[in-house]
């Protein structure tokens, strides 16, 4: 099958599910849209010969982050409707359209200047090749993810605990 066709189908799924995330009103529907987006993104990674990233996307993103979103949605108080007006949508579409137009302008100016995006078909990098830069050129960012995750955990707990009412006889 034509590689452009398969990639275009994957890209269409990615963009449609992204639109679903933005436009669906109910939080549960939005979370399911994000799940569809994440899975179609993983399919696109597979088409780009990035098998490790596809697995990471399914396990970390679909498996952990989207489920975290769903849990938070269930914790939210029910009722309440977003008041989203047409003027607000128009503003958002103008701003998003401007972002898209600027990106496309940069891309087309590069293409016209003779910069080409080559097509490389073949086997993607192995897990070993993907992991090696994490211990050489990308060592510092890789090490910094540990304090980043620790800081986010501490922040989440601190945000929650400071609002907890002190219990009688308890430590908190």
């Amino acid at each position: 099958m034509d590689p452009v066709f398969t990639v275009a189908v994957g890209c269409a799924l990615v963009v449609i599910s992204a639109l679903a995330v933005v436009l669906l009103r109910k939080p549960v529907h939005t979370a399911l849209g994000l799940l569809a987006h994440s899975l179609s993104m993983a399919a696109l990674y597979l088409m780009l010969d990035a098998q490790l990233m596809a697995m990471a996307q399914v396990l970390i993103y679909s498996g952990a982050i989207v489920v975290l979103f769903l849990i938070v949605v269930t914790l939210l108080p029910s009722g309440g409707q977003e008041q989203l007006g047409a003027g607000r949508l128009a503003t958002a579409v103008i701003a998003g359209g401007a972002v898209f137009v600027v990106f496309m302008a940069v891309l087309s100016s590069h293409l016209q200047a003779g910069v080409s995006i080559p097509s490389i078909f073949g086997v993607g990098p192995s897990v070993k090749e993907v992991g090696a830069p994490l211990f050489s050129s990308l060592l510092l960012p890789f090490e910094l993810t540990a304090p980043l995750l620790l800081a986010s955990i501490v922040t989440a707990i601190a945000l929650w605990r400071r609002q907890e009412k002190p219990r009688a006889g308890g430590l908190g």
Binding site: P3, V4, T6, C11, V14, V15, A18, L19, V21, V22, L34, H37, M41, M47, L48, D49, A50, L52, M53, Q57, I60, I65, F69, V72, V73, L75, L76, P77, E82, R88, A92, V93, A95, G96, G97, V99, F100, F103, M104, L107, I117, P118, S119, I120, G124, P125, V130, A132, P133, L134, T145, L148, L149, S152, I153, T155, A156, L159, W160, Q163
Partner: protein, 100 residues
């Protein structure tokens, strides 16, 4: 039109969708999900660059950005829960404080 060009344009479109969502939505959870869309678009461009240049380093950087997205989701959801704690309002624009 090469597959790579299609992917770049799709990544632009997803990033623009995320930007639209951040401005349009009022529910903090939906705003966070829109930010996640933008992060996903950037990861897609990183992976495409890794493939185009035949360099695995782009994928390694994509993994790091994935971790960044997870950390952002954790802090953002904690903030959203703190916001929703006392009253059932669903508007980030009205929020002035998170301590009840």
């Amino acid at each position: 039109m090469t597959p790579e060009l299609v992917v770049v344009i799709a990544a632009f479109a997803v990033f623009a969708c995320g930007a639209i969502g951040v401005i349009y939505r009022k529910n903090p959870i939906a705003v966070l999900m829109s930010v996640e869309l933008m992060i996903n678009a950037s990861i897609l461009v990183l992976i495409l660059g890794s493939r185009v240049h035949g360099n695995a380093e782009g994928q390694s950087a994509g993994l790091l950005v994935l971790v960044l997205g997870a950390a952002e989701a954790v802090v953002g959801l904690a903030l959203a829960l703190a916001l929703f704690r006392n009253e059932a309002k669903v508007d980030v624009d009205d929020a002035r404080e998170i301590v009840g």
